[in-house]
Symmetry: C2
Subunit: 256 residues, 2 copies
DNA sequence: TCAACTTTGTGCAAGCGTTCACAAGCGGTA
DNA sequence: TACCGCTTGTGAACGCTTGCACAAAGTTGA
């Protein structure tokens, strides 16, 4: 379902062909893409990759929007941020679109990933096929536990956390994934940053403090659950409120 | 770091004390809380729980905002959505605030969770201590693999996926977590929905189609990585653009 | 070639969410 | 009691995001 890009080495910088114009324009364009749109572009890319595998060559904004679960106008606007690659009256060429989105998302180069914290989650991440298959080869694993050092997980031997700096530099790691207990997360983060990692995906339930130039995204499972819980509660609240007045969630009076 | 709530049974509805007014008001208030604010409330709650454990009794919006990584004005506005529980000139009573946020997020009742798909990620989720410790006991596990049926994972025996309906009803599951391969996700989702589950946390890289009354949150690791990748690319782009003109990310000419 | 039909790309307006800035309110102190 | 300093709560402005609606542009078929 995802564009297969194979596994392998880290970052490669190819010599550039000297094209004439528009790089500043492109940089402006890239800068101008709203964060929310970037997230959706990634979703469109996944859907489109599936389409490619099914042999679909052309798709309309309506169809793609349906498959991606968004409004078609929003989709067209999102795509317009990266340029006008559709054909009126026809739709978008799937492969062309895949190519453009991949380029905008920076997927034309591979991003080597380091996972820190080889517990349950770390194991799962190290073995997660979705990373390498989408251009994010797992290049290094780290843990504090010396017993784990050298043990291969998902085909890659675990390094000791003290070696983060050298190993990350060596393997050109560009993204660090923190899957440690919360107490260790900030320290690990600091080490990653001093090792030159500028993008971090944080699974630990902590707010990380980082320099401005470092990009952090967090995935907090408990927060996700609590948001769902809120919706359950709201619903229960509505239902209960229609029947018994004066009672809030859980039968407790909200504002006496 | 989180408020300990212990494990145990499912949903309990206590008889209500008949308080005078304001339930409609509260429902309106709950409805009116912006989604983004709900997510932050969960973060504040985590930080506050940590404060409780450290024996902090009072905290100002400035301090809490710092710890949660947000603007203090935003924090105050977020808190104002759930009522005015601060004291001017002093700050907020930590425990009181914890109580109010927990109530708003619906954490006064426990939410039994079912994890479907006991692969690497499913294992990690089943063993994840962050769930039960924050009021989300894992009540059931499911997988298609008959060999897994009956095998305990994280202390809970795996059920066969065909039993979703009965088991979910029996154990009053209110949240379903989908950790299956993408191909199976929609079918699993449909089963959960027909089993009465109205909140779903989806780890599979698929856009799920559900009825309006079902709440879905998705965690897509590849999308997170791609968003990070976008930022790497933008940065590389900026840097490269300053040196060599006409060359985009990766040395490829962007718009010939 | 022309007309009918389809679909893109986008200007514009409405809706949300964020941030600012300050009045209102509270505790402490003389 | 009256004053002072501190912090909350919120009105209002701003900016981002969404959704509508339609002109522009391309295809198809006669």
């Amino acid at each position: 379902m995802a564009a297969q890009r194979g596994e392998g080495d880290g970052v490669v910088t190819r010599p550039g062909v000297a094209g004439a114009e528009a790089p500043a324009d492109v940089r402006e364009r890239a800068r101008a893409i709203p964060e929310a749109a970037v997230a959706r572009l990634a979703v469109y890319l996944r859907v489109l990759s599936g389409m490619v595998e099914q042999g679909v060559t052309t798709i309309s904004s309506e169809e793609l929007a349906g498959a991606a679960g968004v409004n078609s106008a929003k989709l067209r606007k999102d795509l317009s941020y990266i340029g006008s690659y559709g054909t009126r009256g026809v739709g978008y060429d799937v492969e062309v679109l895949v190519g453009h989105i991949e380029r905008i998302l920076g997927l034309t180069r591979k991003h080597s990933v380091a996972v820190v914290g080889i517990g349950n989650l770390g194991h799962a991440l190290a073995n997660y096929g979705g990373f390498p298959s989408r251009g994010f080869p797992v290049g290094a694993l780290f843990d504090v536990d010396p017993d784990l050092t050298g043990v291969p997980v998902g085909g890659i031997p675990v390094n000791h956390i003290d070696d983060i700096t050298t190993v990350c530099a060596e393997r050109e790691v560009s993204i660090g994934v923190i899957a440690t207990p919360p107490q260790a997360a900030q320290a690990v983060c600091d080490r990653l940053v001093s090792a030159g990692v500028q993008c971090i995906l944080n699974f630990a339930p902590v707010v990380l403090q980082v320099p401005d130039y470092v990009e952090v995204r967090k995935v907090d499972l408990a927060v996700e659950m609590q948001i769902l819980s809120f919706h359950v509660a709201r619903r229960a609240d509505e239902a209960a409120g229609d029947v018994v007045n004066g009672i809030g969630v859980d039968g407790v009076v909200i504002r006496p």
